[in-house]
């Protein structure tokens, strides 16, 4: 997939918003000081039909929290989240009421193996989703699903612990796909994988975007991959969205200093000041034993 798809610069106004996050703030209580601390401040973000949108930022910038908001597993302090123009919630964690849009948004996570229940066989997990969404999941059989994510069918009978990271992530994508979502929120889906698995998962996401009419909210700090995959980009820093726009525009002439730095450094840096980097954590098998 060496041909980088030319992004659509003009967004047609007729497309509906799959996800519309407006002025959302999220705060955590700091247990040490007992004070409320904003991790996301007044963030607005929109993902249109069949659109791929990137959300990038340093670690700790709040991008994963915003992804959790999109997935409906994070309570918010202020703001509004709309799924296909239906209110998902105002300030509470999602409840069972908005059945129409339920299942429209599915997630894929960084920790691939960890995102699957270790004590549930893969096929049973899919079965659970099918029972939860009987109508939505009719469209594809398990076997076809495995074909879609390019995995052998016999993996269905395995437990998550028996999968490699790349296989587990493709299973996670399959679990998202089976309910025929309109939007997949992928929170750093490739960053914990080794290089060849990264390529496979990236290709799979690309395939979803092109062939399944699924919109994608791609959270990452990997700007190279983002450039391949996405039409538009939002940049976060310290809980705020500091820049957004068409991907090529932002990549070629970033407006803010932080974005420029992200692009220059490849967007990959440890949080400074912790004094730990990969070597201090041990990078040889000897150190890991």
């Amino acid at each position: 997939m060496t041909n980088s798809a030319t992004p659509t610069l003009l967004i047609p106004q007729t497309r509906m918003a799959e996800l519309d996050i407006s002025s959302v703030s999220v705060s955590y209580r700091n247990h040490r000081t007992g004070k409320q601390q904003d991790v996301v401040t007044d963030a607005s973000l929109e993902v249109l039909e069949r659109e791929s949108v990137a959300l990038v930022g340093e670690s700790g910038s709040g991008k994963s929290t915003l992804a959790r908001v999109a997935l409906g597993v994070q309570s918010i302090k202020t703001g509004e989240v709309l799924i296909r123009n239906q209110s998902r919630y105002a300030t509470k964690r999602v409840t069972g009421q908005d059945s129409e849009v339920m299942g429209d948004v599915q997630g894929v996570f960084q920790d691939a193996v960890g995102s699957l229940d270790p004590r549930q066989r893969i096929d049973r997990g899919l079965g659970e989703l099918r029972r939860r969404y009987p109508k939505r999941t009719e469209w594809i059989s398990d076997a076809e699903l495995m074909e879609q994510v390019e995995l052998p069918i016999d993996l269905l009978r395995r437990y998550p612990g028996q999968l490699s990271g790349g296989q587990a992530q493709r299973i996670a994508v399959a679990r998202a796909l089976v309910v025929k979502p309109r939007l997949i929120v992928a929170d750093e889906p490739t960053s914990a994988l080794d290089l060849s698995a990264q390529a496979q998962v990236a290709r799979l996401l690309m395939h979803l975007r092109n062939d399944h009419d699924v919109a994608l909210l791609f959270v990452s700090h990997d700007l190279a991959l983002v450039r391949q995959l996405c039409d538009r980009i939002y940049v976060m820093e310290n809980g705020r969205i500091i820049e957004s726009g068409a991907i090529e525009t932002v990549m070629t002439c970033p407006q803010s200093v932080s974005t420029r730095r992200l692009i220059e450094e490849g967007g990959l840096h440890e949080v400074p000041g912790t004094g730990m980097n990969e070597h201090a954590r041990g990078d040889t098998p000897e150190a890991r034993v």
Binding site: M1, T2, S4, L195, S196, Q198, A199, Q200, A202, R203, A224, L225, Q228, G266, L268, G273, T274, G275, M276, N277, H279, A280, R281, G282, D283, T284, P285, E286, A287, V289
Partner: protein
């Protein structure tokens, strides 16, 4: 016995068990000679066995690793062979070591100053308190460590990673070892401090002492060392003068390291070429 031959390793082989109970070779027939005043770089990527090598020299290899064969001699005396193991005698004032996770190598429950003084007292019992403090402060300042008073009074968790890394270097240097083994000792430091530490190591070796400098960074090794040993999967790929190796007189693997690009490619080749380069860069930085 040659008078200036300090450390000599012959045919060192080590194995470990993998998760399935199989045996993996960690070191394959490694030979190494170190002379007085020598600065030898040991270069290798993750899993090359470089850490195992220097830990094995002082007999502190990880319990899962087993030395199969080989001899280790120090000043001509056999310290390790199939029949004897006296490596424990080398530790401290003969062979000082800074291990990879320098930051975690400092005891968390005592003040830094008291740990440093303990080392001075242990290896130089003749020094009084003022003298030993003086020595410690001199050494720390040589690594551009400011605010030494505060650091000496602090517990390890109260100072930054870069500062701790330098304390760890000081802990090894205070014993005045004949050979200093440093495993990735500059990895938590910024470029400026790295230069200070390199200068300090330089001065250290000027008075006839030797250095075993372990790193994954070929260029850094080029700045510090006279000779180099390049390891790949426990096997010596190249060994010789640093200048020659850096000039390109080496195996293809080392050349690929020199060209700032490890010799691997994604399995299916589908990855966009430019991002592969980018990833490769990052993994090394």
């Amino acid at each position: 016995m040659s008078s200036n031959n300090l450390l000599s390793i012959q045919g060192l082989c080590a194995t470990a068990r993998d998760v399935n109970g199989g045996v993996i070779q960690i070191l394959r027939d490694v030979n190494l000679e170190l002379e007085e005043g020598d600065r030898l770089g040991i270069i290798g990527q993750s899993g090359s066995g470089k850490t195992t090598l220097i830990r094995a020299i002082v007999g502190l290899e990880h319990p899962t690793i087993k030395i199969e064969s080989g001899t280790i001699k120090f000043r001509g005396e056999t310290m390790y062979s199939d029949s004897c193991d006296r490596r424990a005698e080398l530790r401290g004032s003969t062979l000082g070591a800074i291990f990879q996770s320098a930051i975690r190598s400092i005891y968390p429950f005592r003040r830094i100053g008291s740990q440093l003084r303990e080392i001075v007292k242990f290896h130089h019992p003749e020094l009084d308190k003022a003298q030993s403090l003086n020595r410690i402060e001199q050494l720390l300042r040589g690594m551009s460590l400011k605010d030494t008073d505060r650091i000496l009074r602090s517990y390890p968790h109260q100072v930054s990673g870069g500062q701790l890394q330098r304390v760890a270097i000081a802990l090894a240097m205070l014993a005045d070892p004949d050979v200093l083994m440093a495993d990735e000792c500059t990895s938590a430091l910024d470029k400026g401090t790295e230069a200070d530490v390199v200068r300090l190591l330089d001065r250290f070796t000027n008075d006839g002492r030797s250095l075993l400098f372990v790193t994954h960074d070929l260029r850094l090794a080029g700045r510090v060392c006279d000779r180099m040993l390049v390891l790949l999967r426990g096997e010596v790929q190249d060994s010789g003068a640093a200048a020659e190796i850096l000039a390109g007189a080496c195996t293809e693997y080392t050349r690929s390291l020199l060209e700032a690009m490890p010799p691997w490619k994604p399995a299916d080749g589908s990855w966009p070429a430019d991002s592969v380069v980018e990833l490769a860069d990052r993994t090394r930085s």
